[in-house]
Amino acid sequence: MRSTLGLAALGLATLCAMPARAYIAYTSNERDNTISVVDLDKGATIKTIETGQRPRGILVTPDGKYLLVCDGDDDEIQVFSTATLKEVRSIATPDPELFALRPSGNPLYVSNENDALVTVFDVSTGKTLASIPTGVEPEGMAVSPDGETIVNTSETTNMAHFIDYATQKMVAGTLVDARPRNARFKHDGSEVWVSSELGGTVSVIDPKSHAVTHKIAFPIPGLRDEIQPEDIRFTKDDKIGFVALGPANRVAVVDARIYKVKQYILVGERVWHVGFTPDYKQLLTANGLSNDITIIDVGDLKAVRSIPVGRLPWGVVVNPASAP
């Protein structure tokens, strides 16, 4: 066992010293307080990083240099170097759950779940730029591609809240179905989709008028209450929206031009967050209850393999600077 770990560490050291040779994914494992580092070429977890308590939201900075994770029960965001996988900084903030970076790489928008706040941080210094009161149990965070609009969802208020980047003020709130979990902008910025976990729907919202223009349901024969939409991702051309369906154990493939579900892809159990590889050819799903990630081939729309990670994987992200 020790020698295997040694080899893995050696492999990693080599990896760090030289240009990346594989897509590297990270999962936040809520139950065992770790991040799994997954080599997608090897199809294996190559290292496990200890984190603070209850790691959930996870992201990598656009330059690929830093890995950020929300440790909800430790009231902090940890910043790790992706090169050394060591913590380089910690940002104190109460009960962070999920966050999003402005596409430029700064600032960072954090939902503070217990305090009904969105906190804005300068990610380079860790300084608080603003605290914006929002709805009860803020969760989903999304930044528009132009960086001008931030959307936060609140699970108990049941709204998508629109925040203006320049003024750092709440400008609108759109009611959606019960327990909104996530928000995601299309790459062209024309729409923001918001998933409602208990409502079982995705609301398509026009970010200019803040009106719900379409509502997508996910009928699956034989399933009813298990259909709980969570994370959303769009292909680069915005033609397909992938919606993780939680305990339905499926990812819905939605034709994002006509808002119709094309098919469902069976993945692991309780799929919450998903993430693309930088080339958009693979979609990774974090399967909380089966303790693994599933890789979906985006071209074939098929699940190709699953890779074991830590316990209760919550989020998954691929380092944008890694390459196969």
Binding site: L117, L198, G199
Partner: protein, 401 residues
Amino acid sequence: MEGERIPRGLGRRAVLAAAGIAASRQARADVATIRIGYIRWVEPRPTISLLDKPARDAGLAGAKMAIADNNTTGRFMNQQFELVDRRVSPDEDPVAALGELAGEGIALLMTDAPADQVLKLADAGAPKGVTIFNIAAPDDSLREENCRSNTIHVAPTRSMLADAVAQYLVWKRWNRWLLAYGSHPQDALLADAYRRSAKRFGARIVEERQYKDTGGSRETDTGLIQTQQQLPVFTQSAPEYDVLVAADENEVFAGYLPYRTWDPRPVAGSAGLRPLTWDPSSESWGGTQMQDRFVRAFRRTMTALDMQAWTAARMVGEAASRTQSADPARIMSTIRGPQFQLAAYKGEPLSLRGWNGQLRQPILLSDGRNVVSTSPQPGFLHQVTDLDTLGVDQPETKCRL
């Protein structure tokens, strides 16, 4: 006034922000105020475990939490919620309190009073346009032969609770039950509910035993030895059984059953594996954040009664924001409407049974340390919603609203 108080620990910045908004809002004419009354039944109730001793703010804390949650949402809807708390003891008439609250213009009123008082309040409230939210009385009769069109039942019925236990026991294939029930009228009703559940889900009650409340049997400094001897004798010479099902609503004996039965058997019902709307250990479906917020605000853990009070006030808040109205009549028609859903940390939305005003909801099964399971159990199916496998279903109802 309760409504203006923000529970401690909701986060200093959030509180300051909320206070700032509340202050600026005073000047604004377009903010609608929605007031919810709470007739709080104050009757001392002995419990077997010291851990179950009701807090002074039992129920009230849950209602306050919901008012704070509603007000956070209300900031975006120009709505403000207030709670008006009236304590009523058994030697007082709750109808007088209802009259006062109705006189103050309150039309939405929750109460944790017992069933006979709920009925009195409903009938007294009807001509005044008051809707009663029953947050505690589990009596099926209030939803059946004595149902009232101006009553919403947030508390689950005895039949729902018994079905929740029964489904799990049947799923475990613990089909042979020894039914032990107390000597109070409520215990007879609860025993009836377990008999009905056994029949419904294919379990068999191998024998029934009544435990008479002779007074003074609760554990004291010297009572331990007595209990240790009484309970084995009470459960001695039973036919072969898998599980002891206890029906003891007044906490006379059930709490003493675990580890004291003659045969080594698990206990369910009023002790052991208990059916509840909430348990402070529930962490699924966002439960952790609810527990965190509650403990921070009230310095104690959240009970089932707190959850039922929270749910009642949140139903009002949810309907008010969905309709963007503070009009009690519109709020009530929304709550009763087919689209109404409330997220309450139970993994699926709660909604109302239109035929009798009962809130349909999953039931947690707790061992007092953890949530063992949640009913309905897998495989118990229903054509409308599996939640309607718990309790009296529409085709069986005696309620005609």
